[in-house]
Amino acid sequence: MPIVLEDVWYSYPNGVEALRGVSLTIGDRDFVVIMGPNGAGKTTLVKTFNGLVKPTRGHVLVDGVDTRRATVAELARRVGLVFQNPDHQLFCETVEEEIAFALRNFGFTEEEVRKRVDWALRAFGLEEYRDTSPLALSGGEKKRVAIASVLVWEPKYLVLDEPTLGQDYAQKEKLRKLINELLERASVVMVSHDIEFIVDFRPRPRVVLLAGGRVLAEGRAEELLTDLELLKKASLVRPQVPEILDCLCDLGLKVRTDVLDLLEARDIILSAVGAGR
């Protein structure tokens, strides 16, 4: 059973309309990335998934349950949300306690808690910080603790708000591996601006472009993330591969531009140059 949003509207108490009629389905083992400018409503949108934000109009159904009829605690077991800013999430005295916190709350046995915490510390390269206060870590390390502390209870839907922020290349590639593994048994929804990171996933996620609280477009990455006009509306920079191909078109070489894959771009350029010679 999926997460279903039906014509969801949300206004903050100060009157700001953050969501204006969003309809969206997150299926089982679905992989979705939500992109758009600052203030588009991306973070508000993902907060509706676990009931932190309850729609002022419309419905959000998580596995058939209306989020207005469930508590965040009930929904959290299914929908794990990792906030953009780890400082909004971390509060325990050590990294180990932080990662174990939710597991204990969900009633996992102590043995299982220990096993899972050890796994998470290893998977995120945090072993040396087991007894360190999360607050003493760098921005990138805090981010990893925040992701680990949610991923560890294996929610059916994992929602990551800007997971690559402040991460270096190696950490981003580790995160990619973890997400790929996770996709074998869970759904992953990512809010991200990191377009070059997104386009390197195989298979690529479905893309939802959000602007002004509405869905601007939804579809395949190859279609949406190569469309310059659309990307401009979403304040995104076009990935380098379609940008190169588009520049080549401007120079008079007839090539396709709806391409994100490097090897495909290589072959397109080779045959275009071969034909031109």
């Binding site: 400018p37 600052n38 760098s138 921005g139 990138g140 390390e141 922020l165 402040g166 991460q167 270096d168 290349y169 190696a170 950490q171 981003k172 590639e173 601006h193 377009i195 070059e196 304040s235 995104l236 920079v237 990935p239 380098q240 591969v241 940008e243 190169i244 588009d246 520049c247 080549l248 401007d250 120079l251 008079g252 070489l253 490097l262 090897l263 771009a265 290589r266 350029i269 080779l270 275009a272 140059v273 031109g276 010679r277």
Partner: protein, 285 residues
């Protein structure tokens, strides 16, 4: 004479057993734009702190070697004095801005130097204009976007009139539009005002084209040091694991199939022009 000269620099933070910097030698010429990159924990931030004297004056530890910036040995000059020669901008602008308006934040440094009023005014106005923050000078920093906040932080540092601007991952918490905004301001300060720039950065796809030189650090050491095209295509860069921009990867893939471009492109437009050149298409740009 180089504006930054580092010789045999090693540093170990107090309480740590690992050397954060391990025998670093570097020299940077006045007016250069240098990118410093490498995995988290490679020593980039520690190196930045050495350039403005935060190390050894603020962070205690074992310091060996010598850092000379604008002719001043950082061990012999205090932070307030060095700050008039080297400006350091941090990753998170919220840590740097604390006044009620952008203008007050930018004036804070020169006011603390006890400069005459008209000189403070002159510097503040210049710094606000050079960073494109003039129109926003009466706004509160927390009302600004991330890119604007970071530009305000740069303006605050510029008001000290440094010759060297050191930026420690200034774009890593910004969205792409904000990152582009900050990088273009930094490039302008370098090209138009001749300010030497040392930028630590992971987003090489956006930044590499701006730099004269890329330096890669790993485990406290400098492992690569050269022009961007050379460094980004080296075997060592791959081993260390820095994000190679797609244009450079495509350049290599084409070379692997026998299509050699005359040089390593750093932007999509440059790549397209080089391909068109090789294909014998008349320059229609």
């Amino acid at each position: 004479m180089p504006i930054v000269e580092v010789e045999g620099l090693s540093f170990t933070y107090k309480g740590s057993r690992k050397k954060a910097l391990d025998n670093v030698d570097l020299s940077i010429e006045e007016g250069e734009f240098v990118i410093l990159t490498g995995p988290s924990g490679c020593g980039k931030t520690t190196f930045c702190r050495c350039l403005n004297g935060l190390i050894p004056h603020f962070y205690p530890g074992d310091f060996e070697g010598q850092v000379v910036v604008a002719g001043l040995d950082t061990r012999e000059h205090e932070i307030w004095e060095l700050s008039q020669h080297v400006g350091l901008v941090f990753q998170n602008p919220e840590n740097q801005l604390f006044c009620l308006t952008v203008e007050a934040d930018v004036a804070f440094g020169p006011e603390n130097l006890g400069l005459p009023r008209h000189e403070i005014r002159k510097r503040v106005n210049w710094a606000l204009k050079a960073t494109g923050m003039w129109e926003l000078r009466h706004r509160a920093p927390h009302e600004l976007s991330g890119g604007q906040q970071q530009r305000a932080a740069i303006a605050a540092v510029l008001a000290m009139r440094p010759k060297v601007l050191v930026l420690d991952e200034p774009t890593s918490f910004l969205d792409p539009a904000g990152a582009a905004e900050v990088l273009s301001i930094v490039a302008r300060l370098n090209k138009q005002h001749g300010i030497t720039v040392i930028l630590t950065e992971h987003r090489l796809d956006m930044a590499a084209a701006l730099a004269d030189r890329v330096i890669v650090m790993d485990r406290g050491r400098v492992v690569l040091n050269g022009p961007p095209g050379e460094v980004l295509t080296s075997e060592e860069a791959r081993k260390v694991g820095i994000g190679i921009p797609k244009v450079v990867r495509l350049y290599e893939l084409l070379a692997g199939r026998g299509l050699r471009l005359p040089r390593v492109p750093l932007t999509p437009r440059e790549m397209a022009l080089l391909v068109a050149e090789v294909a014998g298409i008349a320059d229609s740009a």
